[in-house]
Amino acid sequence: MAEVVAVFAATHTPLFLLRRNDPAPEVQDEVFSCYEGMGKAMLDRGAEALVVFENDHLHSLFLDRHPSLAVGVKSTYHNVASEAYMPEVEGGRKGDAALGLYLVNALLQSDFDPAMCQEIEFDHSIVSPLYLMGDPAIPIVPILQNTVAPPLAPARRAYQLGIAVRRALEVYDKVERVAVLATGGPSHWIGTPELGRIDEEWDESVIAPLREGNAKSLSEWSQEQIDAGGNGGNELRNWLSAAALAGDTRAKVLCYRPEPCWFLGVTALEWPVGPAL
């Protein structure tokens, strides 16, 4: 039965790649060493699969058939062609297609209706944090939630999703150790009139409950409360899934560094793995 050996959250942004060295050297050192540490921890703990809660930004998925929830079931992922600046791993990044398919089935049994995706590629949601983590060679299962184009599912669905994925992993016997990563967040404004704004108060209003082991309270937030963190604030959903998966334990804040060059407060969290909810 698969053991969850690591649960992290880590901010994503294309600016990690496009403006990699624009922040002050001490900020770069802090952020890059933090992300490298997460990648190393996944490898050191022997993770054989990496489940990533993330969100496409209308690159791989579009409004013609836009799922609220989707799971990748591929054995190799390449970068989306529309973000050509992203570093590619030779031969592509490996996926765990069997685990992806298993999770699709398990989620259906748990009353979720994920879209099963055999033709999606990775955008910066997954590539930018993984790149800073050193691209650990662990086969990936991407679980994508719509955080970018209304209508959006309520936050409680993201929390419930994390619980369902954890329960599914607990009875999966094809790998022994799984790492989990939620990408995105906290507040940010992309392509909006407030482009580049950072709201440290809003960030603290979501990080504080996570630190206290109370992601549940955030799962009851209204869309209006989430919208106050900008369009990027909707990525809170990914964090809620990871928190619930870990058992809604007290998150440790590995990093919180507001960085105007990167348009957000770079955040990294780790949840100790508690009993499944």
């Binding site: 209308l58 579009f62 529309s82 050509a84 209304p150 404004w189 909006t192 009139p193 989430i226």
Partner: protein
């Protein structure tokens, strides 16, 4: 719900092959979309304020902004005075 055709156009020209087709023969490329004259003019003219008001998704507009080499300051100026949520459905849950 976001307006479909204008978002589809801005989505497609994110991709290098489609963008090349668009740049080579805009009229032929645009013929495949159900767009008004105002929408066509906004896309071709780099008018991000008009595109915002037409309901183009902000993430797509960001890619468009970079393609059109509009600086962040100029982008914010172009959208000055507009609300985050109008006309993007009134709310992200809309």
């Amino acid at each position: 719900m976001l307006p479909y055709s204008i978002n589809k156009l801005v989505h497609e020209i994110q991709f290098p092959d489609k963008r090349a087709e668009f740049e080579e023969d805009p009229a032929a490329f645009l013929a495949g979309f159900d767009l008004s004259g105002e929408e066509v003019a906004a896309v071709q003219g780099g008018d991000v304020r008009a595109l915002w008001n037409m309901g183009v998704n902000p993430y797509l507009l960001r890619v468009y902004q970079i393609w059109k080499k509009i600086s962040d300051d100029d982008y914010r100026s172009a959208l000055d005075g507009l609300s985050f949520y109008e006309p993007q459905g009134g709310s992200h849950s809309g």
